[in-house]
Amino acid sequence: MSEQIQLSRREVMLGGASLVAATAAALSPLRFAQDVPDLDDFLQRHYKELSADEKTRLIARLKRKLKRKYKKDVEIKDPQPIPGVEFAYMLNLQKCIGCRRCVHACANENNLSRNPEMQYIRVLKVKKDRLSVEDADSHYEDEMVPDPDHFYMPVSCQQCRNPPCVKVCPVEATWQEKDGVVAIDYNWCIGCRYCEAACPYGARHFNWQEVTVPEPLLNPDMGLLTNRPRPQGVVEKCHFCLHRTREGKYPACLEVCPVGARKFGNILDPESEVSYILKHKRIFVLKEELNTQPRFYYFFD
């Protein structure tokens, strides 16, 4: 049984007009939307599928956008893995005093968001008699470090040889590079955060909000896969400062460490300091039982 609704011409006109006006009002805040993706962003292909020409155009586009936002000329490089090089990181737990210099040097080097705050390195303060990272404290605010009853354990991406984060990514936006570093294509990441859940080290971080770096603090020496400011809604993490280390330099966290607890180098070079430490020191990896096989080692003298 159908019930017929009768509308007068006036009602249709009034209702229609108010609907149109209300829809316009509801959508009007979109006028203030920033970084609206353009057609090139939609058609952007995966990093690994880019031809040299497409990569040049992508870099030019990113530079143009950064120039608009920060009023600053930046350099975006894309150094490639060096044949015969596999990176490894060694951290001396006996030396680390938990001063958090590495955390902030990393933020400075990698254009990490300052507000909201993004940090790749989390320094755990662990009780010496417990030796358990489960009840460690990363929010300590002591007047002076080190505290004699604790030791300090900085944790960041372990660059696993068997990375759980890479396995769970549904769109292959993260993968292992030839020199061992797990890289992320920020243009391809869909922000599902599966990798963040899969990582047993809490090393991956999601950009809930837009990356905020005060303009004078912006590091203009950028890498395509590393420290260029990330878009909102993608995951990021430590990448062993690939834009530095693939050019032979030490990572930023290592250079700032006031006690020389951090060591970095090519594990395939038998003369490197990391090979020396691997041969001569007592070494362990974090959560060995998970078979992630990290390239980040902790050691004691």
């Binding site: 049984m1 009768q6 009034l14 209300a22 005093i97 300052r114 909201p116 929010h139 030490y250 250079e255």
Partner: protein, 203 residues
Amino acid sequence: MTSAPATESPRSRPWWGSPAALSVALVLLGLAMWLDPWRGFALEANIPPVDPSFIDKHPRRTVGDAMVTRDDSSACSDCHEEDEDPTDPGTKFEETHEIQLKHGMNDHCFNCHDPKKRDLLLIRNGGTIEFKDVNLVCASCHGNTYRDYEHGAHGRRQGYYDQSKGTQTAARCIECHDPHNPKISGLKPAPGPHLLHESRIPE
């Protein structure tokens, strides 16, 4: 099986179907998005910028090659004669040099300084070396540590790990350790992760 009562108007509709109600809802939605009351929620915390001294890469101690301890850059031999008593433990030391000697068993100046030639240092085999090679003085007792240092496992390195691409600088022993009081003192830690919300404060 009753049809609609004849008394009811055929134009009756559920209230939400009226264009007016929909318009009001859309206007409210637009207003809410415009005012955006939840925008400030996460950014409420005003995170102060980090003091740049926390990311200073310089070694903790500044020492030149001459390693003079006096402000006027005078050499040691300008004041000290050769015929000073080498058994003098240097009790008046703190007055002139502002030095605290706390280096294990080494409680005499001449454990490391040459008693005859005052601008030289002693090493354990009896030889003398210049101040600029001070690492070898440390090495003559701390052999294992020096071996680690030579291989890059101890101490601070900066610059290039791949020395075919650039220069690497290694801090000398005394750029971190005060040779007269070598135990490294504590530091004030840089601020920790900011606690945006009280619920994130650990118990």
